[in-house]
């Protein structure tokens, strides 16, 4: 099999973009954070000089300052990072239409049969790496291999500004010694279980009896065994390729017409509770959210947006749905029905770039809250616990969004049509 799948990962993306915009920061210890004035805020991305002093992603600002007193803090500018992210995609599309973005700063590229650069994937990725430097002023690490999982391992293997090839001839020697936790989808819990089985490296996992893995880890055991061996579905999901939609959605026709923002908030909260619960059940987060709105005359529209960071937290989903709603509906008529759909699903334990404007503690709290609510409802039924603000509209609050209405997963997780 050819080595024609690339994974491109921009190095220290946020920090690099800041340096590309402000060359006076080049070569300095800088860190991007949500609010430089908040000592307890966290570092989102640090430049290499800062990393060498021990500054890490998710570290508190005060802690980072203690390790690196000369650290320059820069307020995150998501708009700018999204612009550069778009530019990186423009570069990819010159070479292939098979581009699967993974967060703002990573993407898989399908290069099989691409005519550029004499059809040689290695020369294509070299051209991409050059274009990053020349056009954007940032560097990237690229992995080139015969599977998506190995390509991603390759982009992690050597940083910054490097190209790593794992092909049929060298993968046993180069991939197999890597720790099993480097593998995509092998989070902390899975690593622990694998270690208990005496599996420490990707090679250990690849050569383990799959039946033994299945007994210990269930279906996931087979998945990670395949990944360790460099087999995956190889399918690069194209942007705008709507066919294999992976989404979870729910909609509700309300018992009375909705007439103002609090009504809509209550319904969105109930719907997002159900979508969130379903996502959490699946072990997923969504990267995008869509709302659908039907008014009393039954005319209908839907709008979607990409979330700054994948989530399955009810409160974040609700906030995103309401923000989208406020942008696009101004109460010219009463409403009869609302819907919410989370799309572009990723596994919950997938690594993500940290979000700018939410502190990790708060997010942790919200996750625990959702977990506790899920647990209570599983045991005692939906109505055992309810958000107080929902009860400002008791006639709406009676929806058991999770059970009275069908929740529609599809794509990866089932074949049902959404909304």
């Amino acid at each position: 099999m050819e080595t024609c799948i690339a994974h491109v990962d921009a190095n220290c993306f946020y920090a690099s973009v800041e340096m590309a915009e402000h060359p006076e920061l080049l070569g300095k210890a800088i860190a991007v954070c949500g609010d430089p004035a908040n000592r307890h805020g966290i570092i989102l991305t640090a430049s290499y000089p800062a990393k060498r002093k021990g500054v890490k992603t998710a570290m508190a600002i005060w802690e980072a300052k203690a390790l690196c007193p000369e650290l320059i803090l820069v307020r995150a500018d998501l708009r700018l990072y999204m612009r550069y992210s778009r530019y990186t995609r423009d570069i990819f599309y010159r070479y292939t239409d098979r581009v699967e973005p993974f967060g703002l700063d990573e993407a898989w590229l399908g290069l099989r049969g691409c005519p550029a650069c004499g059809g040689e994937p290695l020369r294509i990725v070299q051209a991409i790496s050059d274009a990053f430097k020349r056009e954007l002023g940032i560097t990237c690490s690229i992995g080139l291999s015969f599977s998506k999982v190995y390509a991603k391992l390759g982009s992690d293997y050597k940083k910054p500004d490097a190209i790593t090839v794992f092909d049929r001839a060298n993968y046993r020697e180069r991939v197999f010694p890597l720790p099993v936790s480097d593998l995509l989808y092998v989070g902390r819990a899975t690593t622990r279980k694998l270690n208990e089985m005496g599996i420490y490296t990707i090679g250990d996992l690849a050569t383990c009896d799959p039946a033994r893995l299945q007994r210990k880890l269930g279906k996931m055991g087979l998945v990670v065994h395949r990944f360790a061996n460099g087999y995956d579905d190889e399918h690069i999901c194209q942007v705008g390729d709507r066919a294999p939609v992976k989404s979870v959605g729910n909609s509700w026709t309300t018992p009375r017409d909705l007439t103002e923002d609090t009504d809509a908030w209550v319904v969105f909260m109930l719907l997002c509770e159900s979508v969130g619960a379903r996502l959490r059940e699946l072990g997923c987060k969504c990267r995008g959210i869509e709302i659908s709105v039907r008014d009393a005359s039954l005319s209908w529209f839907s709008r979607q947006t990409v979330l700054p960071m994948p989530t399955n937290i009810t409160e974040e989903l609700t906030a995103a749905a309401c923000a989208l709603f406020r942008c696009h509906y101004h109460w010219s008529k009463g409403l009869r029905s609302l819907g919410v759909r989370g799309f572009d699903l990723v596994w919950s334990d997938e690594p993500v770039q940290l979000r700018l404007d939410i502190d990790a503690n708060r997010q942790e709290e919200l996750m625990r809250l959702d977990g506790a609510i899920d647990d209570l409802r599983r045991r005692y039924g939906f109505s055992i616990v309810q958000r107080a603000k929902v009860w400002t509209r008791p006639e709406l609050a009676r929806l058991d969004a999770r059970h009275d209405n069908v929740v529609h997963p599809h794509g990866y997780f089932g074949q049902m049509e959404g909304l």
Binding site: A20, E21, H22, P23, L78, R79, M82, R83, Y84, Y87, D90, R134, E135, L136, G137, T305, C327
Partner: protein, 96 residues
């Protein structure tokens, strides 16, 4: 000599195919630089003053050649709402 990024007003012409060409560059001090020819356009980062976009290398009526960068502009929701132009401004050292 120091350099910095300077956003400038530009009169431009957009043809029916959507290709935009700068015609006159207006500096903040009132000076005008009519563009006689666009010699090349290329996507490029400005390594000295920072920023990225499409770099137009222009010949000017006064003589001389210079670069004008076309930079995308977004609203708060990151939707592209337009673009603006910037040039590199050279600043003489203020003190010896």
């Amino acid at each position: 000599m120091k350099r910095r990024k300077l956003y400038v007003a530009v009169e431009s012409y957009t043809d029916a195919a959507g290709v935009e060409t700068p015609r006159i560059i207006h500096w903040p001090n009132g000076e005008q630089y009519p563009v006689t020819a666009v010699l090349r356009t290329v996507n490029r980062q400005h390594a000295k003053v920072g920023g990225t976009g499409t770099c137009y290398t222009c010949a000017f009526a006064q003589g001389g050649i210079g670069n004008v960068y076309h930079e995308v502009l977004e609203d708060d929701a990151s939707s592209v709402i337009g673009a603006r132009w910037f040039v590199e401004e050279k600043i003489e050292a203020e003190h010896a």
